[in-house]
Subunit: 471 residues, 2 copies
């Protein structure tokens, strides 16, 4: 494996180069390095890859050091964090970059067109496990920083780089790490590239994520399965009861009926509406792509508004009684459901869990036992749309990609972004360089090579744009 050292760089051209020229001249080199990075099977979920995880962290740490970052490997209760920083001046703003060097398992291996840990170029695509999620995406920022450091150009911001090794297996220890290293991680803004653009040639700045709250409900009637002939009609059926409760959670307009569910929901702003209306979105294409007979959601909102700006309630799983082939004439002893609610600002996960618990307890008849397990969740996050960060990010993306970026939200949650906000009090800019069809988590994961290059330039401009923000 090969690393770029500061002295290697200088001999490439003039003694002092512009960072942009550096990017121009090192296209192949940064790809080769990314390939080295991708060759580590740093699968965090599998204990057999523990040594690969460690080797990958070591390689990354060395790379950061040789680039000129003050870098170290820091332990967590799980896989280690690689942390690098470069301090210029207390008068400058501080940017914290977050990414992850671990990857999803590559299985099923037989569905890959080339081995997952032997990166390859196929047309415009880099194909490998981790190409887009997240090694390829985080590499753009690393190489933008290198462009400054290697050319002895003054970095206009202080830089902190936090690359974790457990994102794909739950990121369980990172929240604790952030709390513990609160001071070390202090920053003015956080940058994460671990998501997608809106579409091909539609680079995006994501200014909000929904949160999530999770509960499990278990209804129990008789203490064992009963014969539906010998007992049916006189004994509560927990599956029927659970269905009635769940069925009552939405009204005919698709709204959630839980008391106070919408209490703290921020209305969609005019600015947001304007952004969303500009997006090319074909409802029929969306419907066809997911193969559903029809679409359904809360009355009065568009598809995009429903996914990005409105809270939801979905059963993720329901189970009870006999599920095999044919029939079994029983009254099941119990039935249960897993329910998640997607949250928007300013709903609080714990409050929402309390509210659904209160609703179900109120609704559930006394002739059955009802046990609700509240798992809490993560709050929604949003970057102030009228602040300077979003404008700066937009400007950088425009310069890097040569087109106006769109401003979007995401329906999903990235819990660590909520942790950053709650623990550090810092907003996060989500600059996804990937595409929805990059096969993250699937065989043949890929990342557009041209988008990788454009994103390196965007990352470079981002440093300059963020340095100009007045806080």
């Amino acid at each position: 494996m090969q690393c770029v050292a500061k002295q290697d760089v200088k001999i490439l051209g003039e003694d002092i180069m512009e960072p942009k020229t550096y990017l121009d001249q090192n296209r192949q080199k940064r790809l080769d390095e990314l390939f080295d990075f991708l060759r580590f099977p740093s699968v965090s979920a599998k204990s057999e890859n523990k040594k690969d995880i460690e080797a990958c962290a070591n390689w990354l740490n060395d790379h950061f050091s040789q680039m000129g970052l003050k870098s170290k490997i820091m332990p967590t209760a799980g896989h280690p964090v690689v942390y690098g920083e470069h301090f210029s001046s207390p008068d400058k703003l501080t940017v914290l970059y977050y990414g992850h060097y671990d990857v999803q398992p590559a299985e099923p291996l037989d569905l890959w067109d080339s081995p997952p840990f032997e990166p390859t170029i196929d047309g415009d695509y880099i194909r490998a496990r981790g190409a887009t999620d997240d090694k390829g995406q985080l590499w753009t920022h690393v190489k933008a920083l290198e462009a400054y450091l290697a050319t002895d150009t003054d970095l206009p911001v202080n830089v902190k780089v936090l690359i974790e090794g457990e994102e794909e297996s739950g990121a369980e220890n990172l929240a604790e790490f952030v709390k513990e290293h609160h001071d070390m991680l202090k920053a003015d803004i956080i940058v994460v590239s671990d998501s997608s653009m809106f579409g091909k040639n539609r680079p995006a700045v994501t200014f909000g994520l929904r949160g999530v709250a999770f509960v499990e409900v278990k209804i129990t009637g008789p203490d064992r399965d009963l014969h539906s002939g010998g007992f049916g009609g006189a004994v509560p059926n927990p599956a029927n009861t659970l269905a009635k409760i769940i069925g009552s959670l939405h009204d005919d307009d698709g709204r959630v009926t839980i008391d106070g569910f919408y209490d703290n929901v921020r209305p969609i702003t005019d600015w947001e509406k304007k952004q969303f209306e500009q997006l090319p979105f074909d409802e029929e294409e969306f419907r066809t792509k997911i193969g559903t007979p029809g679409l359904h959601g809360e009355k009065g909102y568009s598809i995009i508004e429903r996914i990005w700006c409105r809270p939801t309630l979905d059963v993720n799983g329901i189970t009870g009684g006999y599920q095999g082939e044919g029939g079994k004439t029983i009254i099941p002893s119990w039935a249960s459901a897993k329910i998640t609610m997607r949250l928007v600002p300013d709903q609080k996960p714990d409050e929402i869990c309390d509210k659904i618990e209160a609703y179900i307890n109120k609704t559930c008849p006394e002739y059955v036992d009802c046990r609700i397990t509240k798992h809490g969740g993560a709050a929604a996050v949003v970057v102030p749309t009228d602040g300077p960060w979003l404008a700066g990010a937009g400007s950088a993306v425009r310069k890097g990609f040569g087109v106006d970026p769109v401003f979007i939200k995401e329906g999903g949650s990235i819990p660590i972004v909520g942790t950053f906000k709650n623990v550090l009090g810092v907003d996060t800019l989500l600059l996804g360089w990937g595409q929805n069809d990059d096969n993250a988590h699937s065989p043949n994961e890929r990342f557009s090579r041209s988008d990788f290059d454009k994103a390196c330039y965007a990352s470079l401009w981002l440093i300059e744009e963020l340095s100009k923000v007045k806080v």
Copy 2:
């Protein structure tokens, strides 16, 4: 294995004995023979027991022949039927006895206090697989017939005995057999002892069984599981939709909401009400025994009426989405439920299947796909309560057990009884000699030895009582 031959019997006492005296004098002999019968591991569900099934059928056939029945083994598409008959006169009524020589699997073996196919006496109980279900119960009728034949006493009825070998594995081929041998099986009344008394020292005549209708419902939305963050709120969730449909199937009074569901339901008669009111029934004891926090059913009916005389709708199983440990934030592609309805006279299973299908199709929103599989079922059966058969059966039970029998119904279904009614046009008397806690289908199956004896006498009186019926 030892069989009783006609000539063996005569040397026991006088040349011609009274049938009752014969029963008195052969208590141990009929128990020994039952033990021989019980030693066959005639498990119909397991192919490894095919030879045992055959051996058992052969033994029974030999036994019938030696008793003086004209007996034969008759093939079906599955295990054979043993069929014996004794014709006295065309002027006499004909009684068809039905029972089954096959048994449930004995597993789990380690929970038995003695080997399942080595019958043993434990206090008042005969313990063995098949002791009560159904070898012991059917043996009472066989021995009552033998008491006539062995003592050269004229049988006052013509007799047909149909013992099948597949009851415990679905009785799939018997309905076909009955249709095919329609003429051979012609009778005036059918007698089946394969159920339970109302309680200890509460012998019962069962005059009705509920029917059953079975449907499966599958709701499909998107053609694969979707991320509940990326899509939630805009995409139909089949688990939520299915719950809403199922939840709407009962109103707040516990009544089924399907259009026309109660159209053909016969009201409970005054005679029935009177019978049920006489039964000792403790609601709190019933509730405690099944360990449910409370009871629930159709408003306006007692527990017994709900189970015996009112139709029901129960989810037997519901499934959809993620059911493992922890959470998985998906919108499931599909969710499904198995639903059975217990029917009462004069609901028709196919009509009821059509009605629930129409209801669900009407209720199910267009944005999901709904597939309903109608499995049909069996109609409820009832013996006319004002007819002579029930009175005769009651009288026989009274003489055999020395107490007044109760007249009861059962909430469950015995499909072959419906077949007898539909194909042969003949009613069935259900004379259960067992108890609910005899562990039929469980380890340590047992049958009261004293009830076995009393039931032999009741079976003897039954022959006489039925012979007096004017049809």
